[in-house]
């Protein structure tokens, strides 16, 4: 008699796989990567390359030799973390910064919590924040490196618009004066002639990535939309009350990696809530904290910290904001 295959139902499976989802996110990031290669040339390629290779290596070494568990580097999650971390760094970062960042991101933020699916904090962001706090000079040096193969030779050097604004405000200038002094133009910010990290330079590329993720149903719109809306509304309140000392919502939205954070970092599956209501509260929290850090905190840019703080609240959100159940409870069953 033929040996039949026996298993419990269901007997069919959909086409989604962890690898496929990670691959879709990497594809969604590629417009930003390509634009940054266009503007920053070889340094962008170097950072992305080193990032991906080191993250994958660190995960491989830890899984094979330290925890002696199954090696799962082929699910692309480490590669994705490497790419995201690379996109978060200033373009002139040396390669060893990337290496340290990878070790912290994968080793500390991901593997020491138990590997894929078990970490509380976004690994790429933990890596970035660790680097920011440990190497503040390198991490805030936004100068464009000179390198062979680079277009866009006339990009600015030095600080990002946010840093300029922060410094200007602390020196007593008003917003109008700062804007006038530096020739800020929204159009330029949209198409990235301003300083910034490797990934935040082209808003359009990021939005293309968002469109791809939504169409492929990789993420749901709740988190990005809520973050953007909250940032606009909340910073709008400050701006309306005192336009000379607070930047307007559009400026906030277009600078400082809010879009990169809202689209790619806050929507990381493992560290974001599981239900719609939870996601909305998460997004609101991130938006509020970001604006508060930007307007009142010491750092010019707040999205990384905001996301990490809200990551810590996600287990609580999952516990208290469960999806709506079908049918009410019937007593004595």
């Amino acid at each position: 008699m033929k040996k039949l295959l026996v298993s419990p139902a269901p007997h069919l499976h959909g086409k989604e796989s962890t690898r496929g989802l990670m691959r879709d996110v990497i594809i969604a990031l590629s417009p930003s990567l390509l634009v940054s290669i266009y503007f920053f040339g070889f340094s962008a390629i170097k950072l992305a390359f080193v990032g991906v290779i080191t993250c994958v290596l660190v995960e491989y070494v830890i899984q094979k030799y330290i925890t002696k568990s199954k090696v799962c580097v082929n699910d692309y999650s480490a590669a994705l973390t490497g790419l995201l971390l690379a996109l978060n760094l200033p373009p002139s970062s040396p390669w060893w910064i990337m290496l340290i960042g990878s070790i912290v991101a994968i080793g500390v933020a991901k593997m020491s919590f138990g590997g894929l699916g078990q970490n509380v904090f976004n690994p790429a962001l933990v890596g970035r924040v660790f680097l920011l706090v440990s190497f503040p000079v390198i991490m805030t040096d936004w100068s464009i490196p000179s390198s062979w193969f680079r277009a866009g030779a006339d990009a600015t050097t030095g600080a990002t618009p946010l840093a300029i604004v922060k410094e200007g405000l602390s020196n007593g200038l008003t917003m109008d004066q700062i804007f006038a002094e530096n020739n800020f133009s929204y159009l330029e910010m949209l198409f990235s002639k301003i300083g910034g990290s490797v990934g935040e330079v082209s808003i359009l590329a990021l939005l293309l990535g968002l469109a791809y993720l939504l169409i492929r149903k990789v993420i749901r719109p709740h988190i990005p939309v809520t973050i953007i809306a909250t940032v606009v509304v909340f910073s709008g309140i400050f701006w309306v009350l005192d336009p000379s000392h607070y930047p307007d919502p559009l400026f906030n939205l277009l600078t400082g990696g809010i879009l990169l954070g809202a689209i790619f970092m806050a929507t990381d599956y493992v560290t974001s809530p599981m239900s719609s209501r939870g996601m909305i509260i998460y997004g609101i929290g991130i938006g509020v904290i970001t604006v508060l850090i930007r307007n009142f905190g010491a750092y010019p840019e707040g999205i990384s910290f905001a996301i990490l703080i809200m990551n810590a609240t996600v287990p609580l959100l999952n516990n208290y904001f469960k999806p709506a159940k079908f049918g009410k409870e019937v007593k004595n069953g």
């Binding site: 008699m1 033929k2 039949l4 295959l5 026996v6 298993s7 419990p8 139902a9 269901p10 007997h11 069919l12 499976h13 959909g14 989604e16 796989s17 962890t18 496929g20 989802l21 799962c72 699910d75 999650s77 590997g115 894929l116 699916g117 078990q118 749901r220 599956y269 493992v270 974001s272 599981m274 239900s275 469960k322 999806p323 709506a324 159940k325 079908f326 049918g327 009410k328 409870e329 019937v330 007593k331 004595n332 069953g333």
Partner: protein, 445 residues
């Protein structure tokens, strides 16, 4: 505008490759293996013995207890033994084994093709006739129909819902009977409405069956206006009874409750046809339409199969077990049961035999849960399968009950959507059974 249910659901490819296979009579087998346990509830007790001669449609096993059903012979011949034989799971069940001789039917069965429209029996007589002829629900669960059509005294039925959605991929038996015997089905629905004492009924059909919707709507609006045909969106599990009630009436069955708690009784379209045959043609339930399908098969078939047909015999009729196939499923691919023994036989609730190849059905390697929440999005009961799976593996029954594991309808949407190939339904089903046992054993307040 097609209606649909409100939470969750998935959109698998419907694979209705057997949609054009007209119903054909399955050639009578040589031996019939009639199980006494073909329905939910207590097994029936045989009323024949070795050596007895039986006719097609004759009572061979009697209902025992409150939830039970009669079983009739599907063939004519001599009873060779009453013995314990394995079912599709390998469990030993009492079977009545009959050596087939000819095909002589009971004289009281009306075998003419004429459609009998007038319903002469009273509601009480209808229920008795349905019980007498062993009609059980053909939607998969095989719950005795006469019990479902008799709500408890404190609950009144307001509507009858007929389930013609056939949301499981590959299955087309319900579709074919809607095409080939539409009026008989509507008369069956009318009979059930009379038995329940309801004045309106809704008949849901998924929109991927436009021919069926057209035929049924035309017939219903012409001669059976009390039956409203409703077009439903193609979505799995549209045919789940709770989802059907939510889609058509926007009412939700409460947790641990039954459809009658919302004033509704749901019946499958195949059951409606069986009711027509039992009440109008005096024919007991001993054969049904079974789709035999699979991409690896050269020809798709819809058979009128008699109860008790050995599975090897079914394979023989389709030209042998396809060499690429590795799994034989009794039922649909989302909730059907994988057969473990080919020497088992078909039962009343068999609706399909599906053959799947290694590539189509082999489970992928299990990975870590990446907390993507696709299972949460897919669950039509609003549960959190990732959490239920984790709690099940840890054996935390109290928290499982708090998270309503007993509401799971085992539809498989969560596991279908999981990118990490985690066997969610396997563990949830197991702990659901444990939790329900505990809930039922508690003293009622």
């Amino acid at each position: 505008m097609s209606k649909t249910f409100s939470i969750g659901g998935i959109h698998p490819h419907d694979h209705k490759i057997s949609i054009n296979a007209a119903i054909e009579d399955f050639p009578i087998m040589d031996m019939a293996y009639i199980s006494v346990s073909q329905h939910l509830g207590a097994p029936a007790e045989p009323v024949v013995a070795k050596g007895d001669k039986v006719k097609t449609g004759q009572l061979v096993a009697k209902s025992t207890g409150f939830i039970s059903a009669n079983i009739h012979s599907s063939v004519s011949g001599t009873v060779t033994s009453i013995e314990m034989l394995p079912d599709i799971f390998g469990h030993l069940v009492k079977h009545i084994v009959i050596k087939v001789e000819g095909d002589e039917w009971e004289e009281s069965i009306d075998r003419t093709a004429q459609i009998v429209r007038e319903i002469k029996l009273s509601p009480k007589e209808i229920i008795e006739r349905i019980a007498q002829h062993g009609v059980v629900g053909l939607g998969g669960a095989a719950f005795p129909t006469h019990i479902k059509l008799t709500p408890p005294p404190n609950k009144k039925a307001e509507y009858l819902l007929v389930n013609g959605s056939e949301c499981e991929p590959y299955l087309t038996s319900d579709y074919r009977i809607m095409l080939e015997e539409p009026e008989q089905i509507l008369i069956g629905v009318k009979i059930m409405m009379k038995a329940l004492g309801v004045e309106a009924s809704f008949f849901g059909i998924e929109e991927n069956k436009p021919e069926a919707i057209k035929i049924m709507s035309r017939l219903a609006s012409a001669s059976y206006p009390e039956i409203k045909i409703v077009s439903l969106k193609k979505r799995y599990p549209q045919g789940g009874e709770k989802q059907l009630i939510d889609a058509i009436l926007k009412r939700r069955v409460p947790s641990m409750g039954l459809p009658i708690d919302t004033g509704v009784v749901v019946q499958n379209v195949g059951t409606a046809l069986a009711v027509y045959e039992a009440v109008q043609k005096n024919k007991p339930l001993f054969e049904g339409i079974v789709t035999v399908t699979g991409e690896c098969m050269s020809e798709q078939r819809n058979f009128r199969l008699r109860v008790g047909t050995n599975l090897e015999r079914v394979m023989f009729a389709i030209g042998g077990f396809p060499k690429d196939a590795v799994k034989l499923i009794s039922g649909g691919p989302m909730m059907g049961k994988a057969v473990s023994r080919m020497d088992a036989a078909s039962v009343k609730s068999t609706s399909a035999f599906l053959l799947l190849t290694q590539e189509e059905t082999k489970r992928g390697e299990e990975g870590s849960c990446i907390r993507c929440a696709k299972c949460v999005d897919a669950c039509p009961m609003g549960l959190e399968p990732y959490l239920l799976n984790r709690l099940s593996r840890a054996g935390r029954l109290e928290e499982l009950e708090e998270n309503m594991v007993h509401d799971c309808i085992e539809c498989g949407c969560c596991m279908y959507s999981c990118p990490a190939n985690i066997p969610l339904v396997d563990t949830i089903r197991f702990s659901k059974a444990q939790v329900i046992k505990i809930i039922r054993s508690r003293p009622k307040k």
